[in-house]
């Protein structure tokens, strides 16, 4: 057995990483198609505020971050649907606001700075068994919801007006997709980190789309790219001793650069 698999924390990190690599590009394909790539970034920053609150109050940071981030995602979708503020502006407000609150709360939570840093950039040592179980449940939910609403979500992603005319529950599905993104973002914080999560949502999808002829191909290729990035990134993090999130994103970026060279 390779040395890397002899450590329980590493096996847990790999399992969690693979679950993330399946769900994030799947949701990312719909989000990038509807030009909403930055939603994960904004939600990750909001989730960091939840993490900060959890650290300050002494509760499980992830358990606090889940409802906070889902609330943020619903607010974001409400603002977008009601055109109160443009989509881009509301993403920016939530992004900077979330990080500002996160930093202040983390500063107030004395002795928690090291812990907070692992949520920013990801860490391979922090994934617990309960994290994996939660992530597994979330992955099943995401796969079931997307699987049973695939065509509606595809219609919405490319042509929201026509999807409405066709009678799909567009508003509801938009809220559901936003909430699921929030859930997966929070659960991915341990591995990828809040500041890097959106890269895993966007880069594999963009790379895959350079070669794919269809949406389904895009999703499958993006998942393969994300799995490779996660495995390579975690192995690098283990042997070189670097932040897991950084290593994962650099691996994904390397594949994107190779794709540019192969197909300029």
């Amino acid at each position: 057995m390779p040395e890397i698999l002899q450590y329980g924390f590493m096996v847990r990190a790999l399992i969690a990483g693979l679950l993330i690599a399946l769900t994030i590009p799947l949701m990312g394909s719909f989000l990038v198609a509807r030009r909403y790539s930055l939603i994960a970034d904004s939600l990750a920053h909001v989730s960091l505020a939840g993490i900060g609150a959890g650290l300050l109050l002494g509760f499980s940071p992830v358990l606090v971050a889940v409802p906070v981030t889902i609330a943020g995602s619903l607010l974001l979708e409400y603002l977008r649907q009601n055109k109160r503020i443009s989509g881009e502006a509301s993403l920016a407000i939530l992004m900077s606001g979330g990080l500002a609150i996160a930093v202040v709360l983390a500063n107030l939570a004395r002795g928690a700075r090291t812990d907070f840093s692992s949520y920013l950039f990801g860490s391979i040592t922090t994934t617990s068994m309960s994290d994996i179980v939660t992530l597994l449940i979330a992955t099943v939910i995401v796969l079931l919801v997307i699987g049973s609403n695939y065509r509606a979500l595809l219609h919405i992603a490319f042509d929201e007006s026509s999807a409405r005319i066709a009678g799909y529950k567009v508003s509801l599905l938009n809220y559901v997709l936003a909430a699921m993104t929030a859930l997966i973002v929070v659960l991915s914080l341990r591995i990828v980190g809040g500041l890097l999560i959106s890269a895993l949502l966007v880069i594999p999808v963009i790379t895959a789309s350079r070669f794919a002829k269809s949406f389904m191909q895009t999703v499958i290729i993006a998942m393969v790219i994300a799995v490779i990035a996660v495995v390579v990134g975690l192995v690098l993090a283990f042997y070189v001793g670097i932040a897991a999130g950084g290593a994962i994103v650099i691996s994904a970026l390397a594949m994107f650069i190779v794709s540019l060279l192969l197909k300029p």
Binding site: S29, V32, A33, R35, R151, L154, H155, A157, F158, D159, S161, S162, R164, I165, A166, V205, I206, S209, A212, K213, S214, F215, M216, Q217, T218
Partner: protein, 250 residues
């Protein structure tokens, strides 16, 4: 739902059956202090080919969106018979996304996944050979044909198109219009917004001329261009008209 609707200038549609698909009655839309639509009334019958013309800002796209149920209205009613509406918005970036989507996938959005129906619709618009291609790789004219196939696959009774040929070369436009004529002969109502008034007048069975309110509603052969076009296109059209006259004089 009444089967006939008249406006001050309307005449019964020449080539339409009596089946009313959409009945818009005194539709008004006010946003802030601006009246976007002012007591607009008309019906859409099956098999009609309606050209909706008017200057920029006349409310054409807004009216279409109101008909489609995408735009709430301030006053009036829009009744829709049990029918399926296909909508082709202004040509743009909709499917020109960073993320790939194939021609077949787009048409299957219309057929709700039925591959056979989607393929038949693609054959009808002569795009079956491109089924496996990425839609963003197609020309503008081909993309519009794919969107018509999507509407056909959804078994639309009404096809609503908002300036569908903008930026498309003349040959592709002709092919596109030929498909629309064919649809009409099958009883599908076609409503098309266009700035190309000359083409509209040669194609359609009925013209609706809109500038916030309906100025003309009737057959193209009775449409008095001199009466309405200067009002619609203002100085620019008058200059154009003058140039044509000068050329004729020479």
């Amino acid at each position: 739902m009444s089967s006939a609707k008249t406006s001050p200038t309307s005449v019964p549609p020449l080539h339409a059956s009596s089946h009313v698909l959409i009945d818009a009655d005194d539709v008004s839309l006010v946003i802030g202090d601006t009246k976007i639509l002012d007591e607009v009334s008309f019906c859409i019958h099956s098999g009609e080919f309606i050209g909706l013309i008017g200057p920029n800002g006349a409310g054409k796209t807004t009216l279409l969106k109101a008909v489609l149920g995408l735009q709430p209205i301030s006053n009036g009613t829009i009744e829709r018979a049990k029918s399926t509406i296909g909508y082709i918005p202004q040509r743009g970036s909709m499917y020109d996304s960073q993320v790939a989507i194939s021609v077949m996938e787009v048409v299957q959005l219309g057929s709700r996944g039925d591959k056979k129906v989607a393929l038949a619709a693609l054959k009808e618009v002569k795009m079956a050979d491109s089924a496996g291609q990425r839609i963003s790789e197609l020309s503008g004219g081909q993309q519009q044909r794919v969107l018509i196939a999507k509407a056909l696959a959804s078994k639309s009774d009404i096809l609503i198109l908002d300036e569908p040929t903008t930026g498309i070369d003349e040959r592709s436009q002709d092919e596109f219009y030929a498909i629309l004529k064919k649809l009409r002969s099958r009883g599908i109502a076609v409503v098309m917004v266009s700035h190309d008034v000359d083409t509209v007048l040669t194609l359609v069975s009925r013209v609706i001329c809109l500038n916030r309110t309906i100025l003309y509603d009737g057959p193209p052969e009775h449409f008095e261009a001199d009466r309405y076009l200067p009002r619609l296109y203002g100085r620019q059209h008058r200059l154009l008209h003058h140039d044509h006259k000068s050329e004729g004089d020479n």
